[in-house]
């Protein structure tokens, strides 16, 4: 009896569904937007793209982009669009229709009788990100979960999974490509609120938010790539046009407690943005113990451990750190290993690591060092498997490290070759990353730069 009733119910629902939509929905329809977007910019950048890329004197992506800027192909900033409107609370109050079943079977009634709302949320919060977005079309209530306080709470309580990577590719500098290491999948979101006429690069991230800086080092933008939450930060009080290093910290364990962004320049100037006050402040000047000018390693993203930021510098080689809570600067002199290039800082469980390319004679290898805090020396702790390193033998290889916390993505390239690998610092696992290809595309994209971020559905900029 029960089976028949359920079948009738199912048929009824299917009929309704077909009435609404005619035929099953075609997800592919939406994807056609993307190639159009790529095309426009692709054509525009094509010209200078190929000429600069081959020049091995361009040492990193930043210089490459600045050269592009000088050639005049970067236009004025487009006014940013307002963030997408949130669904009204009224819509949320429209409850689920419980008891759609007509059966008197005790188990059915028992399930739906007291199924509290946060239980749905506890289950949904544990779904893979892509599945969550898919299930938003289940019903209105599920669609409005991103606005729900209790859902945010649930998401915050779930132990952090692997970070994702938000990257910018050479082929398409105006939209990002996201990589999910647990499913080994690339996604190509279009974040409509990010300025498309100006090139912005991801420079830092925390709590699920990614901080973007425009190429002229003028304006900061905060964004959650998953839910399109977006904010342009107020203009800085200090007008500094030279290159800056950026760091980001959370006040508490999630972005709801507020966050801080810090920039520091080579001349020792620095400012801190406080999201709770929505303003920049200059906490002071660098102590005289820190040698100026700061030859900051701009390839290296600042490392965050609790409330302290660590920046890599040379001359003298080492690290400078800034504690966001106490406002104290510290300097550490640490000799860099020999024959090292393209090195960046990383961190894992409070340990400070160094990743870099070690080249001796014609052999190149990716090495990992850990900072010995007692002696302030780098100690080699791991190397990329030999077999993979053989590929680089005799070639001039450059490396970009994306992400700097726990899981790293390394982009290794030479004239003909472009390899992507991830390295898990705690498990010491090296994994190959599938090539990044846009939907309906075939060509592997070249990852220029990016950052890792913790996929957090509910973080708000």
């Amino acid at each position: 009896m029960e089976g028949l009733v359920m079948l009738r119910q199912l048929i009824g629902q299917l009929q309704e569904f077909v009435q609404f939509h005619g035929s099953p929905p075609q997800p592919h329809l939406q994807q056609q937007q993307l190639p159009l977007l790529n095309h426009h910019h692709h054509h525009h950048h094509r010209r200078w793209c190929s000429s600069i890329v081959d020049d091995s004197s361009v040492d990193d992506y930043y210089s490459f982009m600045m050269a592009a800027g000088k050639s005049g192909s970067v236009r004025m900033l487009e006014p940013s669009k307002p963030p997408p409107s949130k669904r009204s609370r009224k819509e949320r109050a429209r409850g689920k229709s419980s008891g759609t079943t007509n059966t008197t079977e005790p188990m059915e009634q028992h399930i739906w009788k007291d199924f509290p709302e946060d239980l749905y949320e506890a289950v949904i919060a544990r779904l893979p990100i892509a599945t969550f977005f898919r299930f938003r079309s289940v019903c209105r209530k599920w669609n409005s979960l991103l606005d729900s306080e209790s859902f945010s709470q649930q998401c915050a309580e779930i132990p952090q999974a692997n970070p994702w990577f938000y990257t910018i590719t050479h082929e398409n500098v105006n939209s990002g490509a996201m990589y999910d290491p647990s499913l080994k999948k690339w996604h190509h979101p279009t974040i409509s609120s990010l300025p498309t006429k100006l090139i912005v690069l991801p420079v830092a991230s925390a709590g699920g938010l990614v901080c973007f800086l425009d190429i002229g080092n003028r304006n900061f933008y905060m964004c959650n790539p998953l839910n399109q939450s977006f904010k342009e930060l107020p203009a800085r009080s200090v007008k500094v046009w030279s290159r800056i290093a950026v760091g980001m910290t959370l006040n508490g364990s999630s972005t709801s407690g507020g966050y801080k962004i810090m920039w520091v320049g080579c001349d020792g100037e620095y400012e801190v943005y406080d999201s709770l006050r929505n303003s920049w402040t200059s906490p002071g000047s660098m102590p005289s113990s820190v040698k100026l000018p700061l030859s900051l390693n701009f390839r290296s993203q600042a490392v965050t451990i609790d409330s302290t930021l660590y920046y890599m510098r040379s001359d003298p080689e080492g690290i400078v750190s800034y504690d966001m809570v106490t406002g104290v600067w510290k300097q550490f002199i640490i000799p860099t290993p020999l024959h090292l290039a393209d090195h960046t800082l990383a961190e894992c469980g409070g340990r400070i690591m160094l990743v870099g390319l070690l080249s001796k004679n014609a052999a190149t290898c990716v090495c990992i060092w850990e900072l010995q805090k007692m002696t302030l020396l780098w100690k080699e702790v791991d190397r990329m498997p030999n077999i993979w390193c053989l590929e680089f033998y005799g070639k001039h290889v450059r490396m970009t490290c994306l992400g700097n916390k726990g899981l790293l993505m390394l982009s290794l390239r030479s004239r003909q070759m472009n390899r992507l690998v991830t390295y898990n610092v705690s498990s010491r696992e090296w994994l190959k990353v599938p090539g990044c290809v846009v939907p309906h595309g075939r060509k592997r994209q070249w990852i220029a730069c990016g950052t890792s971020f913790h996929p957090c559905l509910t973080a708000v900029a």
Partner: protein, 184 residues
């Protein structure tokens, strides 16, 4: 009065040097909605917050049979099974693999609907670690299902109109890529 589940709850009583101690160990009695009665070892019963609160807050004598009107007999069996294992693993140094194996077996023969019912029960009984585990298990089971299955499972209706539905689907097109691979 006692059912076969009584033996499950006190199975380790016979052997071991601490047998004498366990003989004296107190039992807590509960009755589920379908009239089944369960004798729980005190240490297992205390894992269930609602039971713990009931007896400890008002210092109620263990002779009282606690009614659990929102819990079915089969659910109680499963909860006792999980909590007993949890208590056992507490004393072990490296129980990770054993726990994983146990968890896999635990959900093996449960339908998704039963899992949901059990989740509801774990929530009502207030056993946090069991609740977290069950929520994760349900999400694993449904992650590759389609939207219609999910609606039926949770008993919700599609209350979108045409436009809204298309809009929702269009909001994150990137998440719908590679969908075919996910569904099967």
């Amino acid at each position: 009065m006692s059912t076969s589940t009584d033996n499950n709850a006190s199975i380790t009583q016979e052997s071991g040097p601490s047998a004498a101690v366990q003989d004296i160990q107190k039992k807590i009695v509960v009755r589920t909605a379908d009239g089944e009665v369960f004798n729980l070892k005190e240490e297992v019963a205390m894992e269930i917050d609602i039971i713990k609160t009931f007896f400890q807050e008002d210092s109620i004598s263990y002779e009282t049979v606690m009614p659990l009107p929102n819990v079915e007999g089969w659910e109680m069996v499963k909860v006792i099974e999980y909590c007993t294992k949890h208590v056992e693993l507490k004393h072990k140094v490296d129980g990770y693999k054993e726990r994983k194996a146990f968890q896999a077996l635990f959900v093996q023969n449960l339908s998704t609907k039963s899992l949901l019912a059990l989740t509801n029960t774990a929530n009502y009984l207030e056993v946090k670690y069991l609740l977290d585990f069950l929520c994760q298990a349900v999400s694993e089971q449904i992650k590759n299902k389609d939207v219609d299955y999910v609606r039926e499972l949770f008993g919700v209706e599609n209350d979108f109109n045409d436009e809204e539905y298309e809009q929702v689907k269009a909001e994150a097109p990137w998440a719908h890529e590679n969908l075919n691979n996910d569904l099967h």
